[in-house]
Symmetry: C2
Subunit: 300 residues, 2 copies
């Protein structure tokens, strides 16, 4: 569940609602590729923009379409009460695990974040992955807080927001965290441009945005790195550098939603307002980048 | 509406819901003091932690209890669709104005924020105040974006997040923004520790957290500054420095909610989990600070 490639699909949506058919089609791409797990309703899946009822419905579609591949889902919300409701929904729906990010409006203290995880983890009958995503939550975990939370019941993985780009520094960073947490808790890298560096440095999982759209390419990259073929994994990641550059500049969500539209996987607009799609020259640039990625995907 | 003291009351709430009686009591304190306007369901009023139905109910209570004092309310939400629904609710309920902050999960671009304000302002029949609160929204307005948005129909005020502490620098900052925006748009300072410096520098309004609890003290301070009695206004603000220090360290919401509990205005706990109240030594410190503030409030 918390090893290998965990692919995070988009939830195609706009002002008219979620496009369920397109969502199921995206899930089926992941099933065909044989990803290790599916992260439905992550940040890429727009969980923050959906109601409890919509999240329940999308999760049900994911579980029903996943053909036995374990599905994890975000239960993050501003209020603890809502997180607990979402956890109930996830369990009832057959999710294999939940992701929890300390999303905030008022800045949260370490004590508040710890108490949130303590309360939620003690109520769960399925595993929990700590979702450390400072770009969206604006909460910064210390390794010491990760240590405390990782010792709670139910916690089985930490989704970290990238590693240093220098391979040696990445190893130091992963090892430091590893020494603090129980051996039952894996470390998964996110921030796709960092993925291979993270896997090469000892992360067991890649929580992947691009994997939600091009699962074969990302699965191959993850397997190369996890099998110890570091150079080959790096070479494949280097071929994707043009899209990593767009991720860094425009945010991965806007890039993958535009990519999915361009490749005809989903129709546009596919993001909830006020979020706007990539347009103009950047979209043209993405189009030419996608020719290469689509070709890699076909060859995997 | 967008001049003088705008007092932002707490919405007392916990895992059992909103305490409506206590909320109405807080509104009545503001009515008795004769504040210039009431900012129901601002950040201090926990709007971000309440459902649409709860926000509607609390706003209705505020309008019904305000005895003719204009009530403004936040219509902020992550989705434009929800903002538009909240705007309808506000208008239907008799709110005098709305506040709109560009709250975000995915980081917003300037274009996305402008389009949000454009769409909302064109749908409004009541005035709008731009709610610039980077500590909670994590969006940073440039003065040039303020200029663009301030020219939209419906926009009548900008709630800025403080001014430089140096009085001359504060004047430069307020004047720079003033030159860019229409004369129909006022500038209101927030961040209570900056309030008198902001008013002395030419802001027309103070959007005040402490004013939601100690309205007479804050009204006196605002009136002194707006009448040109800069030194006296500064002296009164200086007497409140101990509570401003707690605001800076713990966030104004946690401090005023604890202060309201200590003074018996509301019962505890009064914040939604995962937010926790001030406790221990800090609470004891606040208790002794409140003796002085309560005495000032009685003498106003």
């Amino acid at each position: 569940m918390f090893h290998g490639l965990s692919a995070f699909p988009l939830t195609p949506m706009n002002e008219s609602g979620v496009n369920e058919k397109e969502f199921v089609n995206l899930i089926q791409r992941l099933v065909t590729a044989g990803v290790n797990s599916i992260g439905a309703l992550g940040s890429t899946g727009n969980y923050a923009y959906l109601s409890r009822a919509e999240r329940l419905r999308v999760l049900q579609l994911a579980v029903d379409s996943a053909d036995g591949i374990p599905v994890m889902t975000s239960i993050s919300a501003l209020r603890t009460m809502d997180v607990l409701h979402l956890a109930e929904d996830a369990q009832r729906t057959g999710a294999g695990a939940v992701l929890l990010a300390p999303v905030s409006y008022q800045t949260l203290t370490n004590e508040e974040v710890y108490s949130l995880y303590e309360q939620v983890s003690s109520s769960l009958s399925i595993p929990l992955c700590i979702y450390d995503n400072p770009a969206t939550t604006h909460f910064h975990f210390s390794d010491e807080l990760h240590e405390q939370i990782a010792k709670l019941p139910s916690v089985r993985s930490i989704k970290i927001p990238g590693v240093p780009s220098d391979p040696e520094a990445a190893i130091v960073r992963v090892n430091r965290l590893r020494k603090l947490i129980p051996s039952t808790v894996t470390i998964g890298v996110s921030g796709d441009p960092f993925a291979v560096t993270g896997l090469n440095a000892g992360c067991e999982a890649w929580y992947s945005v691009l994997g939600g759209l091009f699962p074969k390419t990302c699965l191959k990259m993850a397997q190369l790195a996890l099998d110890g073929s570091k150079d080959e994994a790096n070479q494949l990641s280097a071929r994707l550098e043009p899209i990593w550059a767009l991720f860094r500049q425009y945010g991965s969500l806007r890039v993958v939603s535009a990519a999915a539209e361009i490749n005809g996987f989903i129709s546009g607009p596919s993001l909830p307002l006020p979020l706007q799609p990539l347009n103009g020259l950047v979209r043209d640039q993405l189009k030419s980048i996608l020719i290469e990625i689509t070709s890699i995907e076909s060859s995997c």
